[in-house]
Every structure is written in structure tokens, then in C-alpha cells.
């Protein structure tokens, strides 16, 4: 029993985990509205009571950015929702986003003590509720910046890593400028994650909150082209730079027929829809092609987003082709479950071998072969091997390849002295420092393809490292970046 929770632990453990409200699968597979409505206030209060407020809160360790989870849940119980979201924001400036897209089931909720015998506290949904509450009631107030500093810091890329780093440094009093190559902020949150998982309105609001910290944002500005890293130091007068340009370059399988009309990378497919609004064509000017039958290749969250988008664009049959089995799929369980509810057909242990075109050079079918699982490979997962003579042909008119991305090479190729790996990622130490003094990197640019929250973790880590770097330099009174 605590002041905020009158129930005894045994009573709390009897409360079942609350389920969020969701849009009906049939209905939602034809629209782009958000799938999950999250918790209402009643569910939030019931769910919050389930938290045992452990002495050793493992959940905090499970959170990549170390949110004080029991602390914010205590405030929820006191119905101080704004206090709760402020508590979260101390560790994570973007709660409305994390409450939606974080894989809590493999982070905070996985290590929740209740998870061992029962079901974990729905931490993600609680986070989302308080963030949405603050938004709905328009109760956001920008944190007060206590101390202002002269140094300017440039953030390259406005995805989760860049936004987080910007927010942290701005709160420390630095003059922060974000450079974004596209015409809108958010990076993968904008072009990659669909409206039905993360409404763009939420992203816009979170971006406004970054601006409320007096962060300056240049869109339409490609570092490496519009200005180089060295120009940012020498001509623009930045003292430190955080690179967070993500992993935006698509890879292709390298099978015959990939350049036929109707074959998309997941990036192109999702960018057309999410960033350019192709689902509203011809009210918008960017077209997209969607066949009656669509195949998406891959097993990650991007593949899930693409196949569910295809369904919403009117595909009668939407297949997901993945060469391993369900257990090996990197996508979140919740997303796979949602996809199946919406009528997506999973073709597991199946590998495409060739794309077949018609007389007009349009995709008409895809040839695949069946796979079986063999010995474990370097990743520890059992390696799929082709079953001889198992080839079959599937009629499709649109194909989306979602087999992975790698970092965009523009900055690496225009910044002398920046060490990169064979995979094209920028090499950093555990403090996000690169091979060049004053330059830090994080998110997918350094990791090669991970989650939104890990990108945020890197952004936060980099803000600490940049703060230390600049403090040291101030102490040593050295001219900038020498």
C-alpha cells in the first residue's frame, strides 16, 4: 500500500491487464485512420493500479532512455496526468511518439515483474494516454531553460535521433539548429511510419514542441550538398555536430525483373504514401500504382507497414513473403497480429527468385521457391535453405521490396576523415563520438537499422557527450573544433 495506491499488492495482481480500444479490422483495412485508440481514462486508472511500484524497478533498466516508469505511474494514480507526462519528458522528449511506436514488449514491459507469472503493466499505453491527454487539453508548457550558452550545435537529420538530441541540448541552453533534407521534419517518422500507426498530426505537434525550445529548423537543406560539414564548422560557426541521417538508402534483392514497372522499394512506396500523400491522388499530385494483387517482400516492421498500406490502397490480395518462419520475423508481434486481422496473407518460408513482366514491361507475377530451416547462421537464427523443385508462380501486379536499408552516403563521401564501416555506417564509440573531433553520430546512421527508441537513446547519449566535449573545450579555451 502506498499513498497513491490504496490496494495491496495481492489485490493489484488480481486486476487483469486492460486492452486498448481498436478500430474494427474490416473497417480499418480500408482507411488510414489510427488503428489503436489507446486507453481511455477509466482503463488508464485501472491499469495504473496494477503497477506494484517495485523497490527495484527493472522496467527503468528495460527502457533505453531510462524513464522513471513507477514515478510517472504514481502521478497517473493521483490523476496528475500532466505531472506524469512531464516526468516522462525529463527522460524522453517525445512521449506521444514512443507511446505508439516503441516495442515495449521487448523493453520495459518484458522485464516488468508481473510479466513472469501474469501479464506486464501496459506501460506503453499509459505513456500514450498521458501524452495524448496533455495534447488534447492543450496543457503543454515548454520547460524553462535555466542557463543560456553561446555555442551553436548543428543536428543533421530530424528523425528520432536528431529531434531527441536537439531537445536535450536546447534544454541545456545551447543554440541548436536542425538541418533536414526533405521538405518536412521527422525523418522515418514522416516518410516511413504510416498514418495509421503514427498520425502526422502527432508528429507535427511534437515538432512544434521542439521548436518551442527555440530550436531552429532548416528544411530543404542537404548537408553534403547545400553545405558541407566543414562549412558548418568554418563558415556557420558551429562548435559541434550530431549526424543523424538514418538509414535511408534502399537495398534491392538483385533478382531478375526488379526494374519492371510496378516494383518499388519500401522506401519509395511508403514515401509516396506517407510524405507525399499519394493515397489522396489526384487531390495530391504524387501518383502510386497498386495492383489487385500485391506482394511485399520482407519480415520487418517496414514490410508490415508496406503490406498494410497496400491493403488500404485497395489491393484485393496483399501477400507478405518472408524466407524464414514466423519466429524469426523481426516485426513486432502486435504488428503481425494487426496485419493478419486485416486479411494480410503471410507466405512464410518462401523466397522470391524472379519477377515476371508482361508485354508492356509491367509486373505480372513473381516466381518463388519454398524454403526449409537448416543450421543456425551467424545471427543465431536457423538459416533458410531452398527446397529443390519447389518453385511456384504467384500472380501479382505490384511488388514492394522491404529487405533493409543502408545509410545514405552523401555525408560520408563529402566529409574527409570520417571513418565508416563496410556496411556504410558511421563508426562511433559508446559515447557516439566519431573519428573526427566535434562530430558525433547516432541512430540508424551508426546502427544500420534499428528502432525509433534506440535512435532516441543515441540522440540523448550524444547530447551528453556533446555537452562534455564543449565544457572541456571551454575549460581548455581552445578555438572551436581544433
Amino acid at each position: 500500500m502506498t499513498a497513491s495506491n490504496p490496494l495491496k499488492p495481492s489485490e493489484r495482481m488480481k486486476i487483469p491487464r486492460q486492452e486498448p480500444l481498436e478500430q474494427d479490422p474490416q473497417e480499418r483495412s480500408t482507411n488510414f485512420l489510427e488503428v489503436s485508440f489507446g486507453f481511455d481514462m477509466d482503463r488508464t486508472l485501472v491499469e495504473a493500479q496494477r503497477c506494484l511500484d517495485c523497490k527495484t524497478p527493472y522496467c527503468i533498466d528495460g527502457c533505453p532512455v531510462g524513464i522513471d516508469i513507477p514515478g510517472f505511474i504514481r502521478l497517473v494514480l493521483e490523476k496528475d496526468y500532466v505531472g506524469a507526462v512531464r516526468k516522462i519528458r525529463e527522460a524522453n522528449y517525445l512521449p506521444a511518439i514512443c507511446g505508439r511506436v516503441c516495442p515495449q514488449e521487448t523493453q520495459c514491459e518484458e522485464v516488468c515483474v508481473l510479466a513472469k507469472k501474469l501479464t506486464p503493466v501496459a506501460i506503453g499505453k499509459l505513456e500514450r494516454f498521458v501524452a495524448d491527454y496533455e495534447m488534447r487539453e492543450k496543457l503543454f508548457e515548454a520547460p524553462v531553460i535555466k542557463e543560456h550558452r553561446d555555442e551553436k550545435v548543428a543536428i543533421v537529420g530530424s528523425g528520432p535521433a536528431g529531434l531527441t538530441c536537439a531537445a536535450e541540448l536546447a534544454q541545456k541552453g545551447y543554440r541548436v539548429t536542425i538541418f533536414e533534407a526533405l521538405h518536412a521534419t521527422g525523418g522515418v517518422l514522416r516518410y516511413g511510419i504510416p498514418e495509421f500507426r503514427l498520425p502526422k498530426e502527432i508528429l507535427d505537434l511534437e515538432t512544434e514542441r521542439i521548436k518551442a525550445l527555440r530550436v531552429e529548423i532548416y528544411t530543404n537543406f542537404v548537408i553534403g550538398r547545400t553545405a558541407t560539414i566543414d562549412e558548418l564548422f568554418d563558415e556557420w560557426g558551429f562548435s559541434a555536430i550530431f549526424l543523424a541521417t538514418g538509414a535511408g538508402t534502399p537495398t534491392f534483392m538483385g533478382i531478375p525483373g526488379e526494374n519492371l514497372s510496378g516494383v518499388y522499394s519500401a522506401n519509395e512506396f511508403l514515401t509516396r504514401v506517407n510524405l507525399m500523400g499519394a493515397y489522396r491522388f489526384p487531390d495530391t499530385d504524387t501518383p502510386i500504382r497498386i495492383g489487385k494483387e500485391v506482394a511485399v517482400i520482407g519480415g520487418g516492421n517496414t514490410a508490415m507497414d508496406a503490406v498494410r498500406t497496400a491493403k488500404r490502397l485497395g489491393a484485393e490480395k496483399a501477400y507478405l513473403i518472408y524466407r524464414r518462419s514466423r519466429q524469426e520475423m523481426p516485426a513486432r508481434q502486435e504488428e503481425i497480429h494487426h496485419a493478419e486481422q486485416e486479411g494480410i496473407q503471410l507466405l512464410l518460408l518462401t523466397n522470391p527468385t524472379r519477377i515476371i513482366g508482361d508485354a508492356h514491361n509491367w509486373v505480372s507475377a513473381i516466381e518463388c521457391q519454398r524454403m526449409e530451416l537448416g543450421e543456425p547462421d551467424e545471427s543465431g537464427r536457423r538459416k533458410p535453405v531452398p527446397v529443390k523443385g519447389s518453385e511456384f508462380v504467384l500472380e501479382v501486379q505490384t511488388i514492394v521490396e522491404a529487405i533493409g536499408q543502408k545509410p545514405n552516403p552523401i555525408i560520408q563521401s563529402t566529409t574527409p576523415g570520417l571513418t565508416t564501416s563496410k556496411r556504410g555506417t558511421v563508426v562511433t564509440d559508446e559515447m557516439q563520438k566519431t573519428s573526427r573531433p566535434g562530430i558525433f553520430a547516432g541512430g540508424d546512421l551508426a546502427r544500420g537499422g534499428a528502432t525509433v527508441i534506440l535512435a532516441m537513446r543515441d540522440g540523448k547519449q550524444a547530447s551528453v557527450a556533446i555537452h562534455t566535449y564543449l565544457a572541456d573545450k571551454r575549460a581548455a579555451q581552445l578555438p572551436s573544433h581544433l
Binding site: 528544411t219 530543404n220 537543406f221 542537404v222 550538398r225 547545400t226 509516396r272 499530385d285 500504382r289
Partner: protein, 284 residues
């Protein structure tokens, strides 16, 4: 917002724009392009940078009204603003001393060719230029090209100006008669660049072409601009847009570029209706 400071009609459907974009103006090199989005509903389209003036902070675009967006742009006037312009994108043209070079421009491609020809001239090359168009009124930048060329040849398909025929006829003449041609730079419609590349191959003359492809972002993140160069996949927006004409799979690219032909017509017609609609309203 990027303000248009000046427009000039160069031909019935071709307009030259001077636009405020100081960061881009400082960095532009021959062969670079920008991505442009006119308004919130707009698509992103690539447009080659014809010139820039770092002192006044302006860039020059030469645009032919062919589709929805270019028509909408060509109806804009000095004082109007474009929502988004980003660049300079693409790998700049490698400018080297080749001795004698032939620069071949087809239609509005001449606008893209001009900065390259000028840079080649400044690098000390003898520049022979061929400008081709369907008819006289579509010949653009003739005085500009003349000023930076050692010789300028004009061809029109219908013979209404210059020599009657195709740019390739003129190019063949030069390849046969002028000794020591070190390189050919050809920019124009894909069939023209293909024809030029086919022509120069037996002469073993290095031929550079600039590919116009489907593009969404223009920074290497969508792969919509992929082209096959010597059997390998390249992204035109980052690896190009210029490539060795003898290595390009033109047929594949021409088919890919037709992907949205019918949808582009839908968008274009809708735009035309909307314009007609406004006129009717204002008449009422």
C-alpha cells in the same frame, strides 16, 4: 518559400525563372539539379539548374510546360513563391580538358547543356555545339550558346530554321570531318540521347548523357530513379544524373518512365479543369 524574381518566356511553352535561393546559388555546379515542390499538394520534380548568381543569391531554371506541375509552374509570375526548392543535387559534370568537344542539346535539354558547355569552354576546350528542336520557335538559348561556342549548328526537324534534320545528322558530319573530338555531351529527350550514343560508339568517342528518370526525393532514398549502367543498378539522383552513354540501358529506362503516364494525364486534366473552373467562376 522561394521567391521568383524574374520570368522570361523563351519559347511558346518554355519559361526561364530566376528564383531566390542563396544557399543553392553559392554551391551550384554544372550538371546539378534541384527538386521543386510548388505547394502542399504538390509532387517533387527534378529540374536542372541552368545557372546561378551567388552575388544576387538567385538560381536559374528553364522549364518546359509538359505535365501538371510544370504547367502550373510556368503560369507563375515574378513575385510568386515556390514552397520548396532543395539542392544542388546530383554529381556535378566532370569538367576536363578534352581538346575539342561536341555539345548536343535537344529541345529544352539545351538549357541543361548550356552550363556544361560554358564550363567546358572555360576549361579551355574547343566547343562545337549543336542545338536541335522540332521547329524554329522551339529553339532556345541560341545567342547564349553562340557566345560560349567556337561554332554553333542549329537543326530543326521541319527545316523551319537552321539545317533540316536531326542533331545526329549534324553530329555525324562533325565526327567524320573534324579531327580530334575528345568527348560528346548530349542532353535531350531519351530517344535523342540513345541515338547519339549509338552513333558515337563506333567512333569510340566518350559520350556523356544526362538521364531524366522518375524521382521522388532526389537524395538517394527511394530508388525510383534506378537505372542500369553496364548491367549494374545505379541511382540517377546520386550517382548521376550523367552517365557514360555507351553503358546506359536506354530501352529499360524509357519503359520505366512510362510507369505513370496515364495517371499523369489524370492529374494534368484535373488541373486543366480546375483552371477552367476558375475562369468560369470569374466570368459569372
Amino acid at each position: 518559400m522561394f521567391r521568383i524574381v524574374r520570368t522570361d518566356v523563351l519559347a511558346p511553352t518554355v519559361t526561364r525563372f530566376e528564383i531566390e535561393a542563396p544557399f543553392i546559388a553559392r554551391k551550384r555546379k554544372a550538371g546539378n539539379f534541384v527538386m521543386v515542390r510548388l505547394d502542399n499538394q504538390g509532387e517533387r520534380i527534378p529540374l536542372t539548374l541552368a545557372d546561378s548568381n551567388p552575388a544576387s543569391g538567385t538560381i536559374t531554371l528553364i522549364v518546359q510546360a509538359v505535365g501538371k506541375t510544370t504547367k502550373q509552374l510556368c503560369a507563375m509570375k515574378a513575385g510568386d513563391s515556390i514552397l520548396d526548392v532543395v539542392g544542388p543535387l546530383g554529381t556535378p559534370t566532370p569538367i576536363a580538358m578534352h581538346g575539342t568537344v561536341v555539345c548536343v542539346g535537344g529541345g529544352v535539354g539545351t538549357a541543361e547543356l548550356y552550363p556544361i558547355a560554358r564550363a567546358l569552354k572555360e576549361a579551355g576546350n574547343t566547343v562545337l555545339s549543336i542545338v536541335g528542336a522540332r521547329s524554329h520557335d522551339l529553339v532556345i538559348l541560341e545567342p547564349e550558346m553562340k557566345a560560349i561556342s567556337d561554332a554553333l549548328y542549329v537543326t530543326t526537324d521541319d527545316g523551319s530554321y537552321g539545317k533540316k534534320g536531326f542533331v545526329t545528322d549534324q553530329l555525324k558530319d562533325l565526327l567524320d570531318t573534324v579531327p580530334g573530338i575528345g568527348a560528346v555531351f548530349a542532353i535531350g529527350p531519351l530517344p535523342m540521347m540513345k541515338a547519339v550514343s549509338t552513333l558515337t560508339r563506333p567512333y569510340n568517342v566518350h559520350t556523356l548523357v544526362s538521364l531524366n528518370t522518375i524521382m521522388v526525393d532526389g537524395t538517394g532514398m527511394c530508388g525510383g530513379c534506378r537505372v542500369t549502367i553496364n548491367g549494374a543498378m545505379k541511382f540517377a539522383c546520386v550517382d548521376g544524373p550523367e552517365f557514360d552513354g555507351h553503358s546506359v540501358d536506354f530501352d529499360e529506362l524509357m519503359m520505366r518512365n512510362r510507369t505513370y503516364a496515364d495517371l499523369e494525364r489524370v492529374s494534368d486534366q484535373k488541373h486543366a479543369c480546375r483552371l477552367a473552373g476558375t475562369t468560369q467562376e470569374s466570368l459569372r
